[in-house]
């Protein structure tokens, strides 16, 4: 009886928090995925700057990775969330607009976790590109492929194979990092769990439930990455 009552708290009934937690999970996934896109973008840029860029580009990429890997994620989230409103409000002030403008918490948060994990992604892509054997690129040149074709057919798939484990780690970090968006009020899984824990006065049950949901997402994305790794490693004979 007691168990049934406590289980119905996580259900979808009138007194259940199931639909709220589910919506939170969707927001968490959306934020992490947008963060992943941004970090892949920044990572590719940063890695190409570090590998083929001139001294200035290299210095910028180096500064980006050094700073972002030495500063807490929470600070970056605070900086972008509160800082963006300061910038936007002063820009709006130039156009005679009075009052307070803020970037939505979701956008600021995605920007923050994307920029932070982008620094990790730079190293992932750089390492993966350097693991592509020069002979493979030379062979493509010998076949008469131009730069674009070479990138699409040879460099990108081979880099991808080496980068996938790293991308998987970054994805997990994004997923866990997205829980910090709750500090700026984004209604993702963690925030919704806080609300449920507060109003039912059962924090242990709800935080444990949140942990289980995060665990489920990481384990299942681990499986997905395993499938992807097998796809990109076909044609490779394992020792």
């Amino acid at each position: 009886m007691e168990l049934a009552r406590s289980l119905s708290l996580f259900g979808f009934g009138p007194d259940g928090w199931g639909s709220s937690l589910l919506a939170g999970t969707a927001t968490t996934l959306a934020a992490s995925f947008c963060g992943l896109l941004l970090s892949v973008f920044l990572g590719a840029f940063g890695a190409s700057a570090k590998i083929t860029g001139g001294p200035t580009a290299r210095a910028i990429a180096e500064a980006y990775t050094t700073i972002l890997r030495g500063v807490p994620e929470l600070l970056v989230i605070f900086l972008l969330y509160f800082g963006s409103s300061a910038v936007l409000s002063s820009v709006a002030g130039l156009f005679q607009h009075q009052g307070f403008i803020a970037l939505p918490g979701f956008a600021a948060g995605v920007l923050a976790i994307g920029v932070v994990e982008g620094a990790a992604m730079v190293e992932v892509f750089r390492g993966a590109f350097l693991a592509v054997k020069p002979g493979e690129i030379e062979a493509a040149k010998a076949c008469g492929m131009n730069k674009l074709l070479r990138f699409r057919r040879i460099v990108a798939p081979l880099t991808m194979r080496h980068a996938l484990p790293g991308i998987g780690n970054v994805w997990i970090a994004l997923l866990k990092g997205s829980s910090l968006l709750s500090a700026t009020g984004v209604a993702e899984l963690m925030r919704r769990t806080e609300v449920a824990a507060g109003s039912t006065r059962l924090p242990f049950n709800f935080y444990l439930c949140a942990a289980a949901i995060y665990l489920t997402i990481t384990v299942s994305s681990g499986l997905l990455f395993h499938v992807a790794e097998r796809h990109y490693s076909r044609g490779i004979v394992r020792a």
Partner: protein, 244 residues
């Protein structure tokens, strides 16, 4: 964003540095000790031991630290048995809750690194030690642990930086560490950019110093990897001993 304000803010944030360092130290050492136990369990060949350790590592590593902190800080107070137990004076304090959560989180990551270090100790070294008559704890203390530490240290230094950064979450359970103070200054001065840049600078300095320090320790622990000293080699050749 003006530099003068950043400079002033850094000065007022310095009062949070001791707390940040304390939490980091607890997390790094607690994580290492706990992680060492887990790693020993993980390399044992008794199924219950290594399955438990494996499960622990998987679960802790895939749970956000914030969930862990809130689970300890808010969650444990839900049970009357804990509230009335002798542990309550400790678990009531956000400080100790943060320490427990940080050390637990660190231990799972440390366990994997230490396990890698333990597995890297060569069979030959262990056989040689056994041939000298060492056994059990003596072998562990004199041979395995020093070699494992040397192997694991570079990877653990990344983990140390991650732990220093992770202590910022303690500010979300009311602790006034560097991030906590920064958030409160930002909310009163309405200068979020300067304040958070100042706080970021402090973390960057701490982490840079920490990585440098580990590099020095690493250098000292690996005399065999350094190129031989010129003076030594001369002295050696004078005595008719060839080094290589």
């Amino acid at each position: 964003m003006d530099l003068q304000l950043i400079g002033q803010t850094i000065l007022s944030l310095l009062s949070g540095v001791p707390l940040t360092l304390e939490l980091s130290a607890f997390a790094i050492t607690g994580g290492a000790v706990l992680g060492f136990i887990i790693a020993i369990m993980r390399v044992s060949n008794r199924a219950p031991l290594y399955t438990t350790a494996w499960l622990y590592v998987q679960v802790i590593r895939s749970t956000p630290l914030l969930v862990l902190i809130f689970l300890v800080y808010y969650g444990l107070g839900q049970f009357d048995s804990i509230r009335s137990s002798f542990l309550w004076p400790v678990l009531r304090e956000p400080y100790w809750c943060a320490v427990i959560a940080l050390a637990t989180n660190a231990s799972a990551f440390a366990a994997e690194i230490i396990r890698g270090g333990l597995l890297s100790v060569g069979r030959k070294e262990i056989e040689a030690a056994r041939a000298c008559g060492m056994s059990g704890t003596l072998l562990l203390r004199r041979i395995v642990i020093p070699l494992a530490i040397r192997q694991a240290l570079p990877a653990y230094s990344n983990e140390m930086v991650a732990m220093v950064k992770a202590t910022s979450l303690a500010s979300l359970v009311t602790l006034m560490d560097v991030t906590g103070i920064a958030a409160s200054i930002a909310s009163t001065t309405y200068e979020p950019i300067s304040v958070f840049v100042a706080a970021g600078t402090i973390y960057l300095i701490i982490n840079t110093l920490l990585t440098r320090a580990v590099k020095v320790v690493e250098y000292r622990l690996t005399p065999h990897l350094r190129p031989a000293d010129h003076g030594d080699r001369l002295a050696a050749s004078e005595h008719g001993v060839s080094l290589r």
